[in-house]
């Protein structure tokens, strides 16, 4: 075991202590979508009625080509986009009627990493934690630990605007975990990252699931990512869910590889 992984492990252990003990996945659904739809003001029907359930502790991947409606779907679940049809519940709370209750229970790492150009990595994370109600001392400690978990303790005092794209992503992910949420939404978490950064994020997410029982919902069009991280996958195209299942069941039903399944369903929809 390397020194850095030992450091990350000990940081994780301390974090678990701060999280009121490890979270064992509950029996039940962390996320429920019931015919969820979104039509933008310009008439674009981004999501045309998606229904699905994600169990607590599960990792669910939303796969689809660009413009399929993945980001809009996860945006609605994260309360950043208002649905125009159907309903959705996150941790038992309606995303439209109870957005603040939803936000208390989720972490959201967005596709376009939003960071404060004038803040240091540590300040960014501490503010995120404090907005979630943490005391300053707790927020400072958690920021230190989480930066160690994602292998970035050396950038704590650096301005986020000076960091590389991959490092910003990891800081953003760490910031999303400040309140140790039971559910984490990730919108294309590793898009455009080099293999090392991508692997680092995958390792962190896998560790999160196994150590804290976190439910993950992520969007991606990376087949490797979907296979590495997801228990189940839903393929969306043109705003509709065209198929869902475990990676193995999808591969068994429609092709040798997940990519073949993806191409099969998205091409069929495009035809």
């Amino acid at each position: 075991m390397t020194t850095s992984s030992t450091t990350a492990t000990s940081a994780f252990n301390e974090l678990i202590g701060l999280a009121d003990g490890p979270r064992v996945p509950d029996i039940g659904d962390a996320v429920v979508l019931d015919n969820l739809a979104k039509t933008y003001r310009d008439g674009t029907q981004a999501v045309r009625g998606i229904s699905l359930r994600v169990a607590s502790g599960e990792s669910f991947g939303i796969l689809g080509p660009n413009g399929a409606g993945k980001s809009t779907t996860i945006g609605m679940l994260g309360t950043l986009v208002k649905p125009t049809g159907g309903r959705a519940w996150v941790a038992g709370h309606d995303v439209v009627a109870e957005p603040i209750e939803v936000r208390r229970r989720i972490g959201f790492a967005m596709q376009d990493v939003g960071v404060d150009a004038f803040a240091t990595a540590s300040e960014l994370m501490v503010l995120q934690g404090r907005l979630h109600g943490l005391r300053k001392s707790d927020a400072v400690r958690r920021a230190q630990l989480l930066l160690r978990v994602v292998g970035l303790d050396q950038v704590a005092g650096k301005r986020v605007s000076t960091l590389s794209g991959g490092t910003k992503r990891r800081v953003d992910l760490a910031a999303s975990l400040m309140h140790l949420p039971p559910i984490v939404f990730l919108d294309e978490p590793t898009e455009g990252l080099d293999p090392r950064s991508r692997t680092a994020i995958w390792e962190t997410l896998t560790e999160l699931r196994h150590r804290l029982g976190v439910t993950l919902v992520l969007t991606t069009h990376d087949m490797d990512e979907a296979e590495a991280l997801c228990d189940r996958i839903g393929i969306v195209d043109r705003g509709t869910l065209v198929v869902e299942g475990t990676p193995d069941s999808l591969k068994a039903s429609d092709g040798q590889t997940l990519e073949a399944v993806y191409l099969h369903y998205t091409e069929r929809e495009a035809a």
Partner: protein, 252 residues
């Protein structure tokens, strides 16, 4: 609580962005010095309320610091929307209102300090605040509140609608118009043009500037101070529903 945290964030940002900090106060101080020097002869006019023109001009300079300066809040909000940090903040249990109010509050505190600098410069130039420190504080409060309900509200709403810092920056000259179309440089009695006098009478900023000048030159005119705060409250009544309406556009 979240509003205060976000205001604190804004305050931490200011010294890290010295260009914005410098350009929001230095031009005002230069304008004060230049106009005060150029028009100093105005104070020789019969019936002019003071023989020190810098004293007359100080409340105007204070408004020039607070009203256009509030535009920086809108620019910062637009920058946060462009970078999507605004949306990141909305993934926490906070509201659009808290994010906007936090920004405005942070800028208020910055502008209050800048306004105090203007008054200190006035005093260094021989001006005297008739009502002392309490009156000076009241002038700063009135000037800052006018900045929030006029240009602060306009720039924040524009930021939310356009998500474009350049667009917000472009309306900055409008703030100067709001102030210039008052008795900023001359008492209303000494302005000959009836059209200009009508415009001044219709300009809400005039009803805030007037009691501020009285605090500087003569004393507490409570009825005028009350009218000033009523005007501010009236503008807030227009700005708040407009802002609430624009909140919705943040959520796709």
């Amino acid at each position: 609580m979240n509003t205060l945290l976000l205001a604190q964030r804004a305050l931490v940002q200011f010294p890290r962005n010295p260009v914005v900090l410098g350009f929001s106060v230095v031009p005002v101080l230069i304008m004060y010095l230049v106009f005060g020097g150029l028009f100093s002869g105005v104070s020789d006019l019969p019936g002019f309320p003071t023989d020190n023109y810098f004293e007359f001009l100080a409340p105007t300079a204070l408004l020039l610091a607070t009203v256009p300066g509030m535009g920086n809040a809108g620019v910062a909000l637009a920058a946060d929307l462009q970078s999507r940090y605004f949306q990141k903040l909305l993934t926490t249990p906070t509201t659009v209102g808290a994010v906007m109010l936090g920004r405005l509050l942070g800028d208020c505190l910055r502008l209050a300090v800048q306004a105090a600098l203007v008054l200190l410069l006035a005093i260094a130039l021989g001006a005297h605040v008739e009502t002392g420190i309490p009156g000076a504080a009241l002038m700063i409060v009135m000037g800052t509140l006018l900045g929030i309900v006029t240009f602060g509200a306009v720039s924040a709403n524009l930021a939310v609608r356009t998500r474009d810092a350049a667009a917000v920056q472009a309306i900055q000259p409008m703030a100067f118009l709001l102030i210039f179309l008052t008795s900023a440089y001359q008492t209303a009695d000494h302005i000959d043009s009836p059209v200009l006098r009508t415009i001044i009478d219709l300009n809400p900023a005039e009803y805030v500037l007037r009691p501020m000048r009285e605090l500087m030159l003569s004393g507490y005119q409570w009825d005028h101070i009350a009218v000033g705060f009523l005007v501010i409250a009236g503008l807030a009544l227009v700005a708040l529903p407009l802002t609430a309406r624009n909140y919705r556009s943040v959520y796709g």
